[in-house]
């Protein structure tokens, strides 16, 4: 099949059976790849109401047609599963070089099923596929395991591994690859750990056949040229995602002390400039990327290295913890990576615990003696390790995520647990940014920004405005942006360099032989979006609009300081946003897609 590896690999860990099947042409036509394949297999194959950490859940890893190809940022693969953190749909997009290796091994999707009786790692060298004993790696940090496996097999092999967090099933454990790229959110690493899979080692040397080699070459070079000619390339490549840090601070979007404010007095010590000056040693790109946002850093004080920190980690493990020191943020980032826990969720959990401590809801008796005040770097380092190992009372509590932790602790702490649907909110404070707030409320994995990033749009049209156009913008972004995750490429060339998205149309066509306009692609995006919604409904009895509400902090507690001091979104506006959103999506007032909508999207049979 043009542009695809052509094979679905199924690995049953319970009995060790490894099988291959051809990638169905109709699946490629209807769902294209990446997260499209992920939700299709999740919905079709994982029975209703299974335990996310039990044998019936599956971990589905998918490439897309642009993965590994002459396509800027074609380094993305998608890890889909039922989330142990939220109980709903989860997919995590991972960069690096794993997806290209998978494609060149001839694989479109790897489906991990069952539970292995003992720790194993999956070894794939083209057609040689084995489950090998991982006893020697179990218990080790994700970085160490990658070092050892690369040493054993060589630089051409790509490795994705979990750390102690995944082994111990920390509910937001991640999967690490390429010394700093993660399948980060929703607990995909906990699912891998529950299956006792410590790592996947990949090597592929097969060529990928495309439909129209000449136009593929032409369209690929045209896209690279557009990226190289882009005005913003130099600035973006210098700072990567940290380029927004100071701007977020200025507009009150930088999460500060558990999202109690959106501006931080220590900004100059943690922004992109501080990072570049103090710790960055090289740029680090994912496969095929002409605009590398990855920054590789050396923290001299600790004599350690990390890829990062990204803006998200600076937000959640810097300002949100009251930390005004880029070396501390870098070291916290490295510890989270080595433990194999998502730095966004971990940062949010620690911030919540710090607020509890400062309010007297948690005491030293609860924190194993830690002085858990905002800004205490040593406490942060200790706690990251405790969470990864599920050690002590607080490590165990915070391993559950901020939603469950706050429900256990109570005493009003639920009100400052910053999440939607159980997923900790990523690094944009939304006290007065209604489009971004709606984006978080309706994102299909919980409070994550990557589906629709709209904070600049809020500023452009009026941040407090609640109008149908704003809602339409969010829906368009939700249908459009995740299509990059479907195609297997990065969206940031479009987002950050402003590349004309129409340049992708001839490239996709030359690779796959199927002509698709962006209108066609957005229709697929809408279909996938609606299917992920149906997954939430299927898995959670009584699912309704309450699930789409944000943290009360954003509609009850105006920040006391910073750019958004005194500002807040009214609760009635939160509800109005949802009403308009449901109406425009063709969902009923409870947030359920109507039968007519399912029919229009040709989903009726699939969800029956």
């Amino acid at each position: 099949m043009n542009g695809y590896g052509g094979t679905i690999l199924r690995v049953n860990l319970t009995d060790g059976k490894i099988t291959k099947e051809p990638t169905p042409a109709q699946l490629a036509r209807d769902f294209i790849g990446g997260r499209g394949f992920g939700i299709y297999f999740l919905f079709k194959e994982v029975p209703k109401h299974v335990d996310a950490l039990g044998p019936e859940n599956k971990l589905i890893i998918s490439t897309g047609p642009l993965s590994g190809m002459l396509a800027p940022g074609g380094g993305k693969c998608d890890w889909t599963t039922k989330s142990p953190l939220t109980g709903g749909y989860a997919d995590a997009s991972m960069g690096g070089h794993f997806t290209a290796e998978m494609k060149y091994a001839g694989l479109d999707t790897i489906i991990l099923e069952g539970i292995s009786p003992k720790p194993v790692y999956l070894f794939i060298d083209n057609d040689k596929i084995q489950l090998l004993d991982a006893a020697a790696f179990w218990g080790k940090g994700a970085i160490d395991v990658e070092v050892e496996l690369k040493h054993k097999y060589g630089e051409e092999y790509q490795v994705a591994a979990i750390g102690p967090g995944g082994e111990n099933q920390v509910l937001y454990a991640c999967i690490n690859h390429d010394y700093g790229r993660q399948a980060g959110r929703g607990g995909v690493g906990a699912v891998m750990g529950s299956k006792k899979v410590k790592a996947i080692v990949l090597h592929g040397t097969k060529s990928v056949v495309v439909a129209d080699p000449e136009n593929y070459h032409k369209a690929g070079l045209a896209l690279y040229k557009a990226c190289k000619d882009a005005e913003g390339l130099a600035e973006w490549s210098r700072y990567g995602t940290t380029v927004v840090t100071s701007w977020c601070n200025e507009v009150g979007a930088l999460p500060t002390r558990n999202f109690s404010a959106g501006s931080f007095e220590g900004i100059d010590q943690i922004n992109g400039q501080a990072m570049r000056k103090e710790i960055v040693i090289t740029d680090k790109g994912c496969f095929g990327c002409p605009s590398p946002c990855g920054k590789y850093s050396n923290m001299k004080r600790y004599n350690t290295q990390v890829e990062g920190p990204e803006y998200e980690t600076i937000g959640l493990m810097g300002s949100n913890l009251g930390i005004a020191d880029i070396q501390v943020v870098g070291e916290a980032n490295r510890l989270a990576d080595d433990m194999g826990i998502d730095s966004i969720s971990a940062g949010s959990c620690i911030a919540w615990a710090m607020e509890c401590y400062e309010k007297g809801i948690l005491t030293k008796a609860d924190t194993d003696g830690l002085e858990l005040k905002f800004g205490n770097a040593d406490a942060v380092f200790t706690l990251i390790k405790k969470i990864g190992h599920r050690e002590g009372k607080l490590g165990e509590l915070l391993a559950l995520g901020v939603n469950r932790a706050s429900q256990q602790v109570g005493q009003g702490s639920e009100k400052f647990a910053i999440h939607v649907k159980g997923m900790e909110q990523s690094a944009y404070a939304t006290h007065n940014a209604t489009a971004m707030l709606l984006a978080y409320m309706t994102c299909d994995v919980g409070a994550h920004h990557n589906r629709s990033w709209a904070i600049t749009y809020d500023l452009q049209v009026g941040r407090e405005k609640v109008v149908p156009e704003k809602v339409a913008r969010i829906i368009w972004l939700q249908n459009f942006r995740p299509m990059f995750d479907v195609m297997g490429s990065c969206r940031l060339q479009w987002v950050e360099l402003g590349i004309d998205r129409d340049l992708y149309v001839p490239l996709l066509e030359a690779i796959t032989g199927v002509k698709r306009t962006w209108q066609d692609l957005e229709a697929v995006g809408n279909r996938i979006w609606t299917l992920t919604r149906m997954y939430w409904l299927r898995e959670n009895d009584g699912f309704d609009r309450q699930w789409d509400l944000p943290s009360p902090r954003f509609y009850t507690e105006p920040p006391k300081t910073g750019a958004t001091a005194g500002q807040i979104t009214k609760f009635e506006d939160v509800q109005r946003l949802l009403d308009m959103y449901y109406e425009q999506r063709g969902w009923d007032s409870h947030g359920l897609p109507t039968p007519a909508t399912l029919d229009t999207l040709n989903l009726t049979a699939l969800v029956a």
Binding site: D283, P290, P292, Q305
Partner: protein
């Protein structure tokens, strides 16, 4: 003319390697590229690039004279005349003379097509005298 690389500017993305294989073999396959990238991670955290200097040592030892000069003044492998003897491989001072029988039935090297330069977003590659 030859290809130059500044390893300090390389971000390890391998776009050059895909572009190279596409021009050389009309196939997408970075394992069939004629330049190499060696990452050194997690420490010290640098990429090392290896490119052909067109020194001609490979051509000098080729028993079938399969390595010839093209119109760009670069040495290239005439696939039809290569017998896979591997005599060229140890001669290459940069380790960018490739023979991998499982991947191709001829040796391959950089023919200075320039596509790697076209796709490199960090200007780590360029062609000069």
């Amino acid at each position: 003319m030859r290809l130059y690389a500044d390893s300090a500017k390389c971000s390890g993305c391998r776009a050059c390697m895909v572009a190279c294989s596409l021009n050389l073999f009309q196939e997408s396959n970075p394992k069939k590229a004629s330049l190499n990238l060696i990452p050194h991670f997690p420490a010290p955290g640098v990429y090392e690039m290896k490119v052909c200097t067109q020194c001609g040592d490979c051509a000098a030892v080729c028993p079938t004279e399969a390595i010839k000069l093209n119109e760009r003044g670069a040495y290239y492998v005439d696939f039809a005349e290569c017998n896979l003897c591997e005599a060229c491989v140890p001669e290459c001072p940069e380790d960018v003379m490739f023979v991998r029988a499982e991947l191709a039935n001829a040796a391959w090297k950089c023919d200075l097509c320039g596509d790697c330069v076209s796709v490199c977003g960090t200007s780590a590659l360029w062609i000069d005298n």
